[in-house]
């Protein structure tokens, strides 16, 4: 295939992915909007007003970047894991496997679909947050770099989950038992500096701490961890995971007999 044909194939996958999550918007776009609005009302307004400042900002402002990041993580992961597993389950993945597309294009297409949903939900949550507080971007480059890299990383994570999943239970286990606890303990609602030294040290092994804090730095200009190190860590994990997923697809793990 020529580079133009590869481009057409890539755009085809992305178009299909975007069309899919837009078609089922009550399952994909609406729930995070409602959930995050509840977080803003309950944690931000009702409880937050009693908590006072955190990191030099009122509590609502402090948690908004973390909640946006949580939406990006959950939705980029959720999009790829459900879409890719769905194509496996319905065998429609065979449409792609019989075509001349390379595994790289398939991977890039699904990841781009995951990033699109992650970013779109992130934008919706950001827009909703403006009804509750003011936000000003301190560092635009860091903000967007973190959002995109995190969405890519978790799209890749969703892909790994979908590749190894054999039944629908398998795609629910990781988000429920791994992703959600790591996100809630990833400094979304609190500064890890508030934790006792031991638990602060433990938190530093949670990759989501770096993403949430790097994003909070981009928006508010404060972070519990070094932002340069955070960006480097996210980029490194992304590259490693990308190479791993490509290797899995090239070998046909979970998709070819």
């Amino acid at each position: 295939m020529s580079s133009y044909e590869y481009w057409v194939a890539f755009v085809t996958i992305v178009t299909r992915e975007v069309r899919r999550f837009l078609r089922i918007w009550p399952q994909t776009l609406l729930p995070p909007a409602i959930t995050m609005s509840l977080y803003f009302v309950i944690f931000g307004n009702l409880i937050g007003s009693r908590i006072g400042d955190m990191g030099g900002f009122d509590y609502m402002q402090y948690i908004v970047p973390g909640l946006i990041m949580m939406s990006v993580i959950q939705n980029s992961y959720g999009n790829v894991v459900s879409s890719f597993f769905g194509t496996k389950f319905q065998h429609s993945i065979e449409e792609m496997l019989v075509s001349p597309m390379s595994s790289l294009i398939i991977l890039l297409g699904f990841v781009a679909g995951g990033v699109a949903r992650g970013v779109m939900v992130g934008a919706i949550v950001t827009a909703l947050s403006l009804f509750f507080t003011d936000l000003a971007l301190t560092n635009v480059l860091v903000t967007f770099a973190v959002v995109i890299m995190t969405a890519v990383l978790f799209s890749l994570g969703g892909m790994v989950n979908a590749i190894f999943a054999n039944k629908f239970d398998d795609i629910a286990i990781v988000p429920t038992f791994v992703l959600t606890p790591l996100t809630y303990l990833g400094g979304v609602f609190y500064s890890i500096d508030l934790l006792p030294e031991f638990w602060r040290g433990v938190s530093l092994f949670n990759p989501i701490v770096y993403m949430v804090n790097a994003f909070r730095y981009g928006v508010l200009g404060v972070s519990d961890v070094d932002v340069g190190f955070s960006l480097l860590a996210i980029a490194t994990f992304t590259v490693i995971l990308f190479a791993y997923v490509l290797w899995l697809l090239n070998r046909g793990v979970g998709i070819r007999s």
């Binding site: 295939m1 020529s2 133009y4 044909e5 590869y6 057409v8 194939a9 755009v11 085809t12 996958i13 178009t15 299909r16 069309r19 078609r23 769905g86 194509t87 319905q90 065998h91 429609s92 065979e94 449409e95 792609m96 496997l97 019989v98 075509s99 001349p100 597309m101 390379s102 046909g252 070819r256 007999s257």
Partner: protein
């Protein structure tokens, strides 16, 4: 010499082997050549290795060893070029149940690098050709079984491949639809497309295909043109319906006759003997034959003999 002998090779398989994870040896080194323009049948009982062979050619199954090339392009080294030439119609429905019929075709064309405007034109052409244009905006799950089969054929053709492989395309479809699909396949073959068909309907293979390979237990047990294959059938069995009931089978010299019921006889006729002899002897003995038919499709009879011959000891015991 057939008219296709000078044509280039559409599909060439050499010593193809496949052993699945559990140790099942599905293919034990098959070799097969299909020339451009041929209408080729791949037959075999369930579990013989047909779907594994097609799975490897269509890149859905990883081979264990051997080579596959499509129009001279090695499926491993020139995967993209080889795959562009192949259109696959699988046995099971494998499209997204929630996508619209039209979108399924346009998306499939996109996977082959065909830009959207051209993909839409082709989707319309093939949906009209296969009588699905009125259903273009329906989600595929709303189609009937026959429509879904036609959708899979339209999808396999949307990138205009030169080699079309159909895995049991008429399984479970009614006679009328089967006949119309046959006509469409004949038309495609007439336009120069090479067609490989697996089927359980041996009548289908005999009617459509000029060449045939029979695969059993992962090996090719026969690979020849249909005419030569049918010539190998030394004995045909005919069923005779008699005008009046009989109490026992009449003796007909040189033929084996079995009574099936009081008005039906089964007669085995060797190729070397004339069927007239049977009727002469029966007439002399006062039997009146009302009608006659083949016990089984000729190819079916031969198929059973070939496959029976190849049965493992424990299965034939």
């Amino acid at each position: 010499m057939t008219e296709h002998n000078a044509a280039p090779m559409a599909l060439s398989i050499r010593d193809l082997r496949k052993t699945y994870g559990g140790g099942t040896e599905a293919l034990k080194g098959i070799s097969l050549d299909v020339r451009q323009g041929e209408f080729f049948a791949l037959l075999g009982p369930n579990g013989a290795g047909k779907s594994t062979t097609i799975g490897i050619v269509s890149s859905l199954v990883n081979k264990s060893d051997g080579q596959v090339s499509v129009f001279g392009h090695d499926l491993e080294r020139e995967r993209g070029l080889a795959k562009k030439h192949i259109g696959i119609v699988p046995q099971e429905f494998n499209f997204n149940q929630f996508e619209k019929v039209f979108d399924i075709l346009v998306t499939q064309a996109g996977f082959y690098g065909i830009p959207a405007p051209r993909a839409r034109e082709r989707a319309e052409h093939y949906l009209r050709k296969l009588g699905l244009w009125e259903k273009r905006d329906s989600p595929s799950r709303m189609l009937s079984g026959g429509m879904k089969r036609r959708l899979m054929i339209a999808r396999a053709l949307v990138h205009e491949p030169q080699l079309l492989i159909l895995d049991e395309p008429t399984a479970g479809v009614d006679i009328e639809l089967r006949r119309s699909m046959w006509d469409f396949l004949i038309e495609l073959n007439g336009q120069g497309k090479t067609i490989i068909l697996t089927t359980h309907y041996l009548e289908e293979a005999e009617s459509l295909c000029k060449r045939i390979a029979i695969i059993d237990h992962g090996r090719i047990v026969e690979n020849t043109d249909m005419k030569s294959l049918l010539e190998k059938l030394h004995v045909e069995t005919f069923i005779l319906d008699l005008a009046r009931p009989v109490t026992k089978a009449p003796a007909v010299e040189g033929f084996s006759v079995v009574q099936r019921d009081e008005t039906t006889l089964e007669v085995e006729v060797p190729k070397s003997e004339a069927l007239n002899d049977v009727f002469s002897q029966l007439t002399e003995q006062g039997y009146e034959v009302l009608s006659m038919r083949n016990k089984a499709n000729r190819l079916e009879e031969l198929f059973m003999r070939l496959v029976d011959r190849n049965l493992p000891e424990e299965a034939s015991a």
